[in-house]
């Protein structure tokens, strides 16, 4: 028995099977329906966009780890998720070099300047999307038409009502929005595919309903009020539900663990802020779509929201200690 070299470690001696890898790969799995749908709708170019984003994100992750002299975890799935999300946020005809630049911005400026996974304030994929949108506005807003063979492009439904007004929308149907047969970036189009993936995340309990519900709900109510006031100028709230990046943003990007508040109270404020900003930008902003800006702006408030809970908790404990 003395031959057994007893190992000493800390309790507990059983651990759950969950790991950073399992969380990330499950998110990637949840994105699979939307990614598959994008390839179905936009064909080969969409596949190329996905592959380029994934490969370059993982490569830049490895490179940044090497530069920072950290042990590389480039295959832990987080770079994969960033790549997938970035791909879903761009049009399928974006030049490859822009995709690579975007991936670099996501990983380097979105994540590693803050200290890597877990420390980033802003959602990396959204940082890259907004960077691309501001730097290459033309390329980022000419959307290929689904099933089009010769890469014919057109504006997105949100873009049409922004520039030409509601009447110019033409034969847009809600069913088209649900299934994704409309112009848009890879992942903005099919609401059904996104909801399918979100259901998986709920089932695995990686996300809770608070943020998506408050965000989508506030967009619905806010745009609904203006639709009731003037249905001739403002689109119906249902139109806002199925167009643009609302579903992608609400279920997959606003819920990002690292960049969303921890407490329910914080999450409600965060979700409401995301929703209201989205609606305001959509109705009156310079850009047709506001989801990415809204989430990025609210990301900036997360440390503040978390600190608020912290000070409350400390005040409560102090009060208890005094009454004792």
């Amino acid at each position: 028995m003395d031959s057994v070299n007893l190992k000493i470690s800390y309790a507990p001696f059983v651990r759950s099977k969950d790991s950073v890898e399992s969380v990330m790969y499950n998110v990637a799995l949840a994105l699979a329906p939307a990614t598959a749908m994008s390839v179905y709708l936009f064909g080969m170019p969409a596949l190329i966009v996905n592959l380029v984003c994934i490969v370059s994100c993982i490569a830049f992750e490895w490179m940044m780890d090497a530069i920072r002299k950290k042990e590389s975890n480039c295959l832990d799935g987080s770079a994969l998720v960033t790549g997938l999300l970035l791909a879903l946020n761009v049009p399928s005809n974006l030049p490859v070099w822009m995709l690579v630049v975007g991936s670099f911005v996501a990983i380097a400026a979105g994540k590693h300047v803050f200290g890597g996974l877990g420390h980033n304030v802003f959602n990396p994929a959204l940082v890259a999307r907004v960077f691309l949108l501001i730097s290459f506005p033309a390329a980022m807003t000419s959307w290929p038409i689904p099933f089009s063979v010769d890469m014919e492009t057109a504006a997105s439904p949100l873009g049409i009502i922004k520039t030409d007004g509601l009447a110019a929308l033409g034969d847009f149907t809600l069913m088209g929005g649900l299934f994704g047969t409309m112009n848009g970036s890879l992942g903005e189009t099919s609401t059904i595919a996104l909801l399918l993936g979100a259901a998986w995340l709920f089932y695995k309990r990686y996300i809770t309903i608070t943020i998506p519900l408050t965000m989508i709900g506030s967009v619905f109510i806010f745009t609904g009020i203006f639709y009731l006031l003037d249905p001739g100028t403002y689109a119906s709230p249902l139109f806002h539900m199925v167009t643009g990046g609302l579903m992608l943003g609400a279920f997959f990007m606003a819920t990002d663990m690292v960049t969303s508040p921890l407490s329910v109270r914080g999450q409600i404020i965060f979700g409401l802020g995301c929703g209201l900003l989205t609606a305001i930008i959509r109705l009156w902003g310079g850009y047709p779509e506001g989801v990415s800006f809204a989430i990025l702006i609210m990301n900036g408030f997360v440390p503040l929201l978390d600190r608020w809970d912290l000070t409350d908790r400390k005040a409560l404990n102090q009060k208890k200690a005094e009454t004792k």
Binding site: L6, K7, Y10, A11, F13, V14, R15, D18, S22
Partner: protein
């Protein structure tokens, strides 16, 4: 079905020994009886090398208010009084006894059962104190102290803790089945100390339906309420059990008696019965020997002082993969550093495992998933406590509720980044305690 309201986890139950009847383990060749088997000051040794002792003889006297007596668990000769490995991870003064093989009781000990109703409250408490009974669930708090709440505290609910929420452990489960009458009698004795006015309940998790049935049958006639509880860890923690059974919440800084509750372990109830009715001191306990890396998994009735060496050979040896031994359950137990450490009054289990899966798990940075916050039964933010502990900001960490942590380990269990959250919290607690001691000294 009832359960506690905040947090909780459900680790794999692995109750591999639930059908194994309790086996009485024979007297080993040598006993190592620790004088530090309880919370508080270690007992003072009363015997010297060479002394002859009888089974049940007092060999260590309680030193102070929070301390407990220690008795010889067989008859024989004192071989030495010296420090020996302790399952808690340190060395502790221990009395080594070489058994004479007669296993002869001290006169007046282990008599035929008397009717406890003939005894006064003071007599009952003094018998419990003399028998060296401590909380057998793990904490080892002297039972006589717990049964004498300060004046003005009205106890109106007595709860026996049959939750046994730790994976693997089945010692209490077997006791509830095989010594049902003693369990009930022990609870009745405790009730009588509060004039029988307090409601008496036994909280048992639903994964032990046979125990629920057995105790319900016996308890019904006596007004004892058996409460089935939804299986969830850490239901056996005092605060969580009170919350599950009564719905009351023990606020930070409060003790159970502040909310009129008193909780006792199943093993302790049996020990109370034996001490009060049979004048039998606490010299043996049921230990679950389990884990994936031992050939014969058993529930054994082991004498206090039986070394882990003896238990391993009694249970058919370990497999070649065994490289870690845990005293207690896998959630809150401690890794044993020596096979020479003995069974104490609080050793509920001895688990033999291979820690390969644990070794692999390297700490990663927090990804703020919030799981630790969801599962914390005390409503704390474990990730933050661990962060602040790592920064060694001990003023801040106390404001964050450090003292409320019950060290159940649920946070560490769920953490996908495999952070040693509860370890950092324990570390901060130890340093904060030391600092306070220095301040008062």
């Amino acid at each position: 079905m009832k359960t506690f309201t905040i947090g909780g986890i459900h680790p794999p139950e692995n109750k591999l020994t639930e059908d194994k009847a309790i086996e009485v383990m024979p007297v080993p060749a040598e006993l190592c009886i620790s004088l530090n088997q309880h919370l508080g000051k270690p007992a003072k040794p009363l015997v010297k090398m060479g002394a002859e002792v009888k089974k049940g003889q007092l060999i260590g006297a309680a030193d102070g208010f929070i301390s407990a007596n220690v008795h010889a668990s067989t008859s024989g000769k004192v071989k030495a009084v010296k420090p020996a490995p302790h399952p808690g991870g340190q060395y502790a003064m221990s009395i080594f006894i070489t058994p004479d093989g007669n296993d002869e009781w001290l006169e007046g000990c282990n008599t035929a059962p008397i009717d406890w109703k003939a005894l006064s409250k003071e007599e009952i408490i003094s018998r419990i104190k003399d028998a060296g009974i401590v909380g057998m669930g793990g904490a080892g708090f002297p039972t006589n102290v717990k049964l004498s709440p300060p004046p003005g505290k009205n106890i109106d609910h007595i709860i026996l803790n049959g939750a046994e929420c730790e994976p693997f452990l089945t010692a209490d489960h077997r006791l509830m089945l095989e010594s049902s009458e003693e369990v009930i009698a022990g609870l009745e004795i405790i009730s009588s100390l509060f004039d029988g006015k307090a409601k008496a309940s036994i909280g048992i998790e639903s994964n032990k339906p046979d125990a629920i049935d057995a105790l319900r049958k016996l308890g019904q006639a006596k007004g004892i309420d058996v409460v089935p509880l939804k299986t969830k860890y850490p239901q056996g923690a005092e605060k969580q059990l009170i919350n599950a059974v009564t719905g009351r919440t023990i606020e930070p800084g409060e003790l159970p008696f502040d909310k009129g509750c008193l909780v006792q372990n199943i093993g302790t109830a049996v020990a109370i019965y034996e001490a009060v009715c049979k004048n039998k001191p606490l010299i043996e306990r049921v230990v679950t020997v389990s884990g994936m890396e031992i050939t014969e998994r058993k529930n054994i009735l082991a004498r206090v002082g039986t070394t882990f060496n003896d238990i391993v050979s009694y249970c058919g040896n370990m497999t070649a993969q065994a490289n870690q031994v845990i005293s207690g359950g896998p959630m809150m137990g401690k890794a044993v550093f020596s096979f020479d450490a003995p069974v104490t009054k609080t050793t509920s289990g001895l688990l033999f495992i291979n820690n390969k899966g644990l070794e692999k798990s390297k700490e990663r940075t927090c990804i703020r998933c919030g799981k630790c916050v969801d599962v914390c039964p005390q409503g704390l933010g474990p990730w933050l406590l661990a962060n602040v502990a790592q920064l060694r900001d001990f003023d801040e960490i106390q404001l964050l509720g450090l003292a409320n942590c019950t060290e159940c380990g649920s946070c560490t269990f769920v953490c996908p980044s495999k952070r040693e959250l509860v370890h950092w919290i324990k570390y901060a607690k130890a340093l904060v305690n030391n600092r306070q001691k220095r301040k008062t000294a």
